[in-house]
């Protein structure tokens, strides 16, 4: 029995069960069930770690005959960790929503599982069509999560999120169909094989157009400057559980897809466009940081800092060398953990004080020292302090960028400096100074939620060996293949 196939359909099964079960037990059921899914997903690790660069747990059967669409899923090290990130954070989101979601809880928890179904599908599909289906399926539960349980401006944010993402993905559908007319298949490994053997090739214009069609869809999702305008609204309005998943996992759909599809399928165009995309990424890094500096709203502040951090990931992806790619993938995981922790903690602040404005807080460190300490760890992780997770990712990315072009690294490093400014200033205004209100310290249930994330921050900052070798190996395959392409192109020029 293929554990990955089981893992993919478990959340769907859970979704249906959650709809059928009586409302009183749904939230407990979803929590337990998502923990079960997490447990199952851990079983995947061993096999993938043995051969991290190859696809493991492959299921490949026909789904639709005309046109030939296959149900083809599999994992390499990169997608494995993203799947596990998903299965890890869904129970976290379910647990922290247990007390906060009082309005129509049954549907909320059911949608969490539907979202998980889509996300696992996105990270494990190896058929372009199947991938597209999951990509769009993710939209529906997220739309409801923002729109029904979000803040005052939720409907605007939800609609903007849906329409933006859909508009982006429509061009990708055209590109996928075009590739099908050339290759006669949607199967990603088959297409790559045909390209390697020289059976199909795209002219330079074709490749550029296809690259841009895919890029646009992913750039909206990441988001890359200037397509980021939906993000602050969506992150700020969504309930904490949904914001956590959006910031930690949904944004990785974009960066992961850039890696899996753009870099793999269109090496020449990726190479040609890299300077432009890197420029956008660096603008995003600096712009996100500058806007975060002046945000009065905590959730928006972290949302803009996300734009800045994701700029690093894109920079790493398009620096075109081993360091950059490894750093980018690692940073995807690190950003998920540290930003996720920040959003969770901000959610706790909002619960206590019913406000997200920084001016309403101050001096929390006095009544709630543990809270302040935990928040400090998350803040420092986000800044990129050595021994904590983000440091490793950002360091590798900067090293890769420097290898490609020293100026890229120089400008991007500005983002690191700025992140220290806005995060520490934010921390100072919120936790130091005169205590403005009574504030309860972390409750046991809050400790339970946040501890795993804190452990991971340290673990990922110190024992990188758990993750990096596998990620590195799977990136090396990509680089070997695409480098030979781009080098050959340089020669023919």
């Amino acid at each position: 029995m293929n554990i990955l196939a089981v893992l993919l359909f478990l959340p769907l099964l859970g979704f249906v069960a959650a709809l059928v079960l009586p409302a009183a037990v749904t939230k407990r059921f979803v929590l337990v069930f998502s923990l079960l899914i997490f447990g199952v997903s851990l079983l995947l690790i061993g096999t993938v770690q043995l051969r991290p660069a190859a696809m493991s747990w492959v299921t490949d059967t026909a789904w639709i005959d005309t046109p030939a669409i296959r149900f083809h899923i599999g994992l390499d090290a990169t997608s494995l960790w993203l799947v596990i990130l998903t299965t890890f954070l869904v129970p976290v989101a379910a647990y922290l929503s247990q007390r906060t979601i009082l309005h129509r809880p049954k549907e909320f928890f059911a949608y969490l599982l539907l979202l998980e179904f889509g996300l696992i599908g996105v990270f494990s599909s190896l058929d372009l069509f199947l991938y597209y289906v999951f990509w769009e399926v993710v939209l529906v539960p997220m739309y409801f999560l923002i729109g029904v349980w979000g803040g005052p401006n939720r409907i605007y944010a939800a609609t903007k999120f849906f329409v933006y993402t859909m508009a982006g993905s429509m061009l990708m559908l055209v590109a996928i169909l075009f590739i099908y007319t050339k290759a006669g298949t949607f199967d990603l490994p088959a297409i790559l094989l045909q390209m390697e053997m020289g059976k199909i090739s795209f002219s330079q214009t074709e490749e550029l157009a296809l690259f841009l069609a895919f890029f646009l869809a992913f750039a909206v999702k990441v988001p890359i400057f200037p397509l980021h305008t939906w993000l602050p609204d969506a992150y700020a309005e969504a309930p904490t559980g949904a914001t956590l998943l959006m910031a930690a996992v949904l944004s990785k759909m974009g960066t992961y897809s850039l890696l899996r599809f753009n870099l793999n399928l269109f090496p020449r165009a990726s190479h040609d466009c890299a300077p432009w995309i890197v420029t956008l990424a660096i603008i995003g890094i600096v712009y996100g940081a500058l806007v975060a500096l002046v945000q009065p709203n905590m959730k928006r502040l972290v949302a803009y800092s996300s734009i800045s951090h994701l700029g690093f990931v894109v920079l790493g992806l398009f620096s075109g060398n081993q360091f950059g790619l490894d750093g980018a993938v690692y940073q995807m995981l690190c950003h998920a953990i540290s930003t996720g922790a920040l959003f969770i903690l901000i959610g706790y602040l909002e619960e206590r004080n019913k406000s997200l404005e920084i001016v309403d807080f101050g001096g929390i460190a006095t009544p709630a020292p543990n809270f302040a300490a935990v928040f400090l760890v998350a803040t420092l992780a986000s800044i990129g302090l050595p021994l904590l997770n983000n440091f490793v990712g950002e360091f590798l990315i900067l090293q890769g960028a420097a290898q490609a072009n020293i100026w890229w690294a120089a400008f991007a490093a500005l983002g690191v400096v700025l992140s220290a400014c806005y995060m520490l200033w934010f921390y100072q205004r919120t936790f130091f100074g005169e205590a403005k209100m009574q504030m309860a310290d972390l409750a046991p249930r809050e400790w339970i939620t946040i501890t795993p994330l804190l452990v991971l921050m340290l673990w990922m900052g110190i024992f990188t060996q758990t993750w990096l070798p596998g990620i590195s190996a799977s990136n090396k395959v990509l680089l070997d293949r695409t480098m030979s392409k781009t080098v050959a192109m340089e020669v023919t020029k």
């Binding site: 005309t66 729109g147 029904v148 939720r154 609609t159 859909m166 055209v174 169909l177 075009f178």
Partner: protein
């Protein structure tokens, strides 16, 4: 010609069986209506008509088992015809299921309604299976005249009467164009049989410009019937004004039948002109999508919004017609079938929500529906997501096949613009969904229970949408097999 050939053989009858059943059933209803008198509850006549439609549906496979032409080549019974007969009959069945409770609620229950639906279905069946311009015209008229009356069936409703009058005037106009085109074609080629026209045109004619003019006239007539821009102006008014179950009927059934003859005429008779009409269809398709989607954005009345959305959907099907290929035709067939399911499902929900006198038809009236009637809201959401084109619904595969055909035929710009259009469309469907799920109900009064017929319709359409969304092959394989015409 041998006079004996004028007497229809038994095979001829079998090939024409669904329409025959519908017509006889309609006449029987007419008699029953007179016999039951004024004071009786006429719902029973509705049940009879449902039985008639079911019988006609069972007769469709019979026509398929006896392929070929009948009545001296006037009617053709092939897989294409059978497909569209089935689609229109399905829409008819849904209409009748939703109508009995609707008419009782509006206190207008009478047998005429049901028999008009049956006659209209017979006309649509003739359209789907005609092999002759004269038969096309007859089918068009039978279907249309019944529809005009149905649109204004609630005599006391001003909007309904306005809709009926508008529909009648513009519809007759369109038919006149079409008829004029037929007469020119007959003048040039001396034939009204579709394949005979094709042969005559292939040999070359003395007046090629007249052929083009005739094709253009017929195109105008058909564009009216499928509500393609710039001939779409009637559609929103009619769909808004007509009784809700009839709006659903008009937006799905006659449109599917009109597309059937559209495709059949242009791919059979005018195939030699394809390079000339392709750019026109290209522009028509794009304009239709744009007008439909962008007008729908501003609507607050759900029926009117669905009217504009049905224009947009006609635009998608026109993209498939533009490709002038078997893949495109199969895509159009799949699309129209899934469109029938999702659009009728949406109108069925509106039929119930609208309440007596159709007072509650704005998006505001849908607010909080999810907490009052969660099942109805969920089923309507499935229909709306399918109309948006979200994967794992029939609507997504419909769009997918259409745009795949377009890209196979190198219509890249049309595909890109068309798909971006459907992102615009997401906005107005989402407005309805967000009204249902993201607002509190305006009133606290207890909702009326959903009538069984409407429930059945909605469950059927939602089940169909999701089934085709996972296993599109069920319909697509059939469509692919029968999308070829005698060329």
């Amino acid at each position: 010609m041998n006079p004996a050939a004028f007497y229809p053989t038994s095979t001829d009858i079998l090939r024409f069986l669904p329409e025959l059943i519908l017509t006889i059933g309609g006449v029987v209803l007419l008699v029953l209506e007179a016999l039951t008198g004024d004071h009786k509850d006429k719902s029973s006549l509705g049940y009879v008509s449902i039985g008639v439609v079911l019988a006609a549906m069972f007769a469709v496979p019979v026509t398929l088992a006896n392929p070929g032409v009948s009545f001296n080549g006037m009617i053709i019974s092939d897989g294409f015809a059978a497909f569209f007969r089935m689609v229109t009959l399905l829409v008819g069945l849904f209409t009748l299921l939703c109508s009995t409770s609707y008419l009782t609620r509006e206190k207008s229950n009478s047998g005429e309604f049901y028999l008009l639906v049956l006659f209209s279905l017979a006309g649509q069946g003739i359209m789907a299976s005609s092999n002759e311009l004269i038969m096309v015209f007859l089918g068009l008229e039978i279907a249309s005249i019944s529809s005009y009356v149905l649109a204004g069936f609630l005599k006391d409703d001003k909007r309904g009467s306005e809709a009926a009058l508008k529909y009648f005037l513009l519809g007759s106009f369109a038919t006149a164009f079409f008829l004029y085109g037929i007469s020119w074609i007959y003048g040039v080629t001396g034939a009204t049989n579709l394949s005979a026209i094709r042969d005559a045109l292939a040999k070359g004619t003395e007046a090629p410009s007249m052929v083009v003019a005739a094709a253009a006239l017929m195109l105008v007539g058909l564009a009216f019937k499928v509500s393609a821009a710039p001939f779409q102006a009637w559609a929103p008014d009619v769909y808004q004004g007509a009784p809700a179950p009839i709006s659903g009927f008009l937006s799905a059934g006659p449109k599917a039948a009109a597309f059937a003859i559209f495709i059949r005429i242009f791919q059979t008779s005018f195939d030699s002109l394809s390079s000339r009409y392709e750019p026109i269809l290209w522009a028509l398709a794009l304009a239709t999508m744009l007008v439909g989607n962008f007008s729908a954005l501003w609507q607050s009345n759900v029926k009117r919004m669905l009217g504009y959305s049905s224009i947009a959907h006609a635009g998608y099907v026109l993209v498939a017609v533009t490709t002038n290929s078997n893949v495109g035709t199969a895509g159009a067939m799949f699309y129209l079938a899934s469109y029938a399911l999702m659009n009728y499902g949406a109108f069925a929900a509106i039929t119930h929500i609208a309440g007596r006198g159709e007072k509650y038809v704005t998006i505001d009236d849908l607010k909080g529906l999810a907490s009052k009637q969660p099942v109805l809201a969920a089923l309507l959401t499935v229909c709306l997501l399918s109309l948006t084109g979200v994967p794992l619904t029939a609507g997504f595969f419909g769009k997918f096949y259409i745009f795949k055909a377009a890209i196979d035929h190198h219509l890249y710009w049309l595909s890109a613009l068309g798909l971006l259009n459907s992102a615009v469309a997401a906005y107005y469907y989402l407005r309805v969904i967000s009204a249902m799920y993201m607002y509190e109900p305006k009133t606290t009064e207890h909702p009326e229970p959903v009538p069984a017929g409407i429930q059945l319709t909605m469950w059927c359409s939602a089940a169909g949408i999701l089934t085709l969304g996972v296993l599109p092959g069920l319909v697509l394989d059939y469509a692919n097999r029968f999308a070829t015409f005698v060329k």
